[in-house]
């Protein structure tokens, strides 16, 4: 088998990534950040909704990057608030780093 051909390991890893990628999670986290959760979600730690970007979620890096950039663009459309400013302030350097990656 040539090194470029997928083996069992890479096939299963791709399958898992496909099943476990969650396109809605960033929107959910954004919504949780703006409206504090009414029930605890295991994947969301209090106060850390938007600050876990580098390690958040599943799937390929490019998918995560896209989610972050989409979320920042959504955030930009929201009315001004201290939280919005804070999130943009903290995430902008990361977004810039992603674009340069």
């Amino acid at each position: 088998m040539s090194p470029d051909q997928p083996n069992n390991q890479t096939r299963i890893a791709g399958y898992l990534d496909m099943l476990l990628v969650d396109h809605s999670v960033w929107d959910e986290k954004l919504s949780l950040a703006i409206n504090p959760p009414v029930r605890p979600l295991d994947t969301v730690a209090s106060g850390h909704y938007l600050l876990t970007t580098e390690t958040f979620g599943s799937g390929h890096r490019i998918v995560k990057y896209t989610h972050l950039l989409n979320s920042l663009s959504l955030l930009n459309q929201l009315p001004s608030s201290r939280l919005k400013s804070e999130v943009l302030h903290r995430c902008s350097p990361l977004a810039e780093a992603m674009l340069c990656d």
Partner: protein, 266 residues
């Protein structure tokens, strides 16, 4: 809510018996428990005298049209069991077709996690019975739970299934970028047989950190309870098997306490 998946990529190792036994013992303490049948064979569903061939709604329906986020719909799917405080999210045989139905759709491994998020305040524990093959159903169980319990028959062939299960778990953890604690539970242990003793010894050597130090013995009372549709502790609360599961439950709960405390401290 504490969510535990009971899984092994080998059949006949005592997964359903573990779910029912732990569920019954939790109910004995007054906990609100949801038992979840993710296995298309529907053994857990049949245990409580529901027919997986004829049920009109089941977990299967939650995989379509965003129903996993519909609180009212989820409650329509949940069924009572013979014991107050213990409910069942049943399987139908249609679950066997799910792999084909949702093939290629992103995010289908997170349906159960989203369903349980809707039920967070309604139950203290959710115990998930799983199919013995790697597929969308097993991935849902692994993605939704906070702890994996791996019942492993104390015979040589079961070690391969255990190895495969631990490997799958590591890949899911890598994909989800999180740590998932697991406990290996030796089952169907018969101290009179050489096979049981040597396999247990091997398990201790291979998985010293994750192996529960006791074992669930072979006990005909499990079969009797299943025949009557009762939880094993309702059938005979002092049987060898029930006593072993009681010890296991204490061990799992104390491990959860430690995990909770270490997370709180961070």
């Amino acid at each position: 809510m504490r969510i535990w998946s009971i899984a092994n990529q080998k059949g006949g190792v005592g997964k359903t018996t573990s779910v029912v036994s732990l569920g019954g013992l939790l109910a004995e303490r007054g906990a609100r428990v949801l038992l979840i049948d993710l296995d298309p064979h529907g053994s857990l569903t049949s245990y409580f005298r529901y027919d997986p061939d004829s049920l009109e709604t089941s977990l299967y329906d939650l995989f379509f049209n965003q129903r996993c986020k519909d609180f009212d719909y989820i409650h329509k799917v949940i069924l009572p069991t013979s014991r107050k405080g213990v409910d069942l999210l049943p399987a139908t045989t249609a679950l066997a077709t799910l792999e084909r139905q949702v093939s290629g759709q992103d995010g289908m491994g997170l349906v159960l996690a989203k369903t349980l998020a809707q039920l967070w305040d309604d139950y203290d524990y959710a115990l998930i019975d799983t199919p013995p093959i790697l597929g969308v159903l097993l991935v849902n169980a692994l993605a939704a739970c906070q702890r994996l319990v791996i019942p492993t028959q104390t015979e040589h062939l079961a070690l391969k299934g255990l190895e495969r299960m631990v490997h799958t778990l590591k890949m899911v953890m890598s994909s989800q970028n999180r740590q998932l604690p697991y406990t290996i539970v030796p089952t169907l242990f018969d101290r009179r047989t050489h096979a049981s003793l040597t396999t247990l010894k091997e398990m201790r050597q291979l998985y010293p950190e994750h192996l529960w130090q006791e074992a669930i013995p072979i006990d005909t009372k499990f079969r009797d309870a299943s025949h009557e549709g009762l939880f094993p502790n309702e059938m005979d609360s002092l049987s060898r098997g029930v006593r072993a599961y009681r010890h296991l439950l204490m061990e799992l709960d104390s491990a959860e306490e430690v995990r909770h405390e270490s997370r709180s401290a961070k």
